[in-house]
Point group: C2
Chain length 283, copies 2
């Protein structure tokens, strides 16, 4: 490659990976090289701009730890995470959305109809629905893994006032595929704004807000696990999610509910708000 | 953006940066988003592959420190650093090449004709030439900043046996624009192979060798500073540089020299090897 020039270097880099044994890896690295070089050529990237990019990644590395991954956040605010989710939402299944950084293993088990609002401040709410297959048939013994932020916009990991099992649970649906629980309506929150991603957002005149949401991982034997979020249509940030996680099909409209029997069964005051959302799993 | 889909998300991300006040930043982030998304779409990037990419960056962050920047190395082995150099080599000037990680400030001053081989093992060599403008006119009082690896392929930073001022210097040319010094021929060396970049190279069936080279930063009042490397045409890795830094115009062919007067002036045995290379600076 002594004669490599700006018009031959892309091919030279691609060829240097000729010895790769995994054809998918080879394809990915070839296309990544192609797009990376096309970007640099198209904008005629300067050495100073290149260095600013390197510095961004270096600082992202320094601020990242097990509880915070600034590279995921970078991917989130550039819409890449959502695009990958969208490219892999299965036909007929509920759309995927961001896992985010706050999922924790081994949440407490909760029976169908149980309560997690406990002593949390905020608007009480009944959340219920069905877990169905792509044809609309209920899936018995489906598993839900749920987590949400509190009314102050914080997850338990960010807030020493919350107990470690606050506002999260795992649940197994009955034979009818139904799930139900009572909780409080979560609040919008800021993604971390104090690192290189914060600098990027500020340079772009962007805020760091996400609309409030519930997080779910829904799974069942023989079906593809689904990671998704459920949003509130009347949220002030619904059209400005900093990480592009909102999907039209994932919006709910909390309903003013006056069903006395339901209120009594769940220990809710009248009227109460309820949200109904069905999940569709694909094979 | 509640109705964002895989075909509208790129535009949604671009629009989110509408508030950017710096037009160049806005352009860069728009084109970066475009290419990043085009890559993900084209290869239909899976969530697992996305996670492998995030993990690569996370590990690169953890292994990086002030003495080692794995992000620069990533850019190097993907040819991006060289491409940026090539895009900005000025017409009429000597081609740019990699700065690399081993440049140190404040190298000792050396008079024109001085020696830096001292007690280093290796083949003695006279290196000389001129610093010229783009039209070939000598530039008086041009500044050279030089560094190279020893015969074991290591820079002083990597080798406790070398003194901190070994094999590096700064020099000011005379009125004739001439520089000259005696040194030893450097050896090829490996870029770091023990981090995520090493994993990438191994997955691609690639080695980590760079052909031996001299590093120069050449500058003069009123001219654009030039960072470049000079390589040996007969080096075994000349066509396989792991970081794509070799340029045809930066190759030298050490000459078997029998000039008695020159040998005597520089304290060299007869015959000795000499390398002649002229630098062209652009305004």
């Amino acid at each position: 490659m002594r004669n490599v020039t700006d018009s031959t270097i892309t091919q030279a880099v691609v060829r240097s990976f000729d010895g790769a044994t995994d054809p998918r890896f080879k394809h990915l690295i070839e296309r990544l090289t192609h797009h990376l070089h096309a970007f640099a050529r198209e904008v005629k990237l300067t050495p100073d701009e290149w260095m600013a990019g390197i510095d961004f990644l270096y600082r992202a590395g320094k601020i990242s730890d097990e509880a915070r991954n600034e590279f995921i956040l970078t991917s989130d605010v550039l819409g890449l995470s959502s695009l990958v989710d969208m490219l892999h939402s299965a036909a007929g299944g509920t759309e995927r959305s961001a896992l985010g950084p706050f999922h924790a293993e081994n949440s407490p088990m909760l029976a169908v109809g149980g309560d997690i609002k406990r002593d949390n401040d905020g608007e009480p709410m009944l959340v219920h629905g069905l877990v169905l297959d792509a044809k609309g048939k209920p899936i018995p013994a489906a598993r839900l893994d749920f987590w949400q932020a509190a009314i102050n916009g914080k997850y338990w990991q960010q807030d020493s006032e919350q107990s470690p099992d606050n506002l999260r649970f795992r649940m197994v649906t009955g034979k009818d595929g139904a799930y139900a629980f009572t909780t409080v309506r979560p609040a919008p929150y800021n993604v971390p704004y104090d690192g290189p991603v914060g600098d990027l957002l500020r340079a772009g005149g962007r805020h760091a807000w996400r609309p409030a949401h519930f997080h779910f991982i829904v799974s069942a034997e023989g079906y593809r696990p689904l990671t998704t979020e459920v949003f509130f249509e009347d949220d002030q940030y619904i059209d400005q999610d900093a990480v592009f996680g909102v999907r039209e099909s994932l919006l709910v409209n909390p309903r003013r509910n006056t069903d006395k029997a339901l209120a009594q069964r769940h220990g809710l005051p009248l009227p109460f708000h309820s949200v109904e959302f069905d999940f569709h799993l694909s094979r």
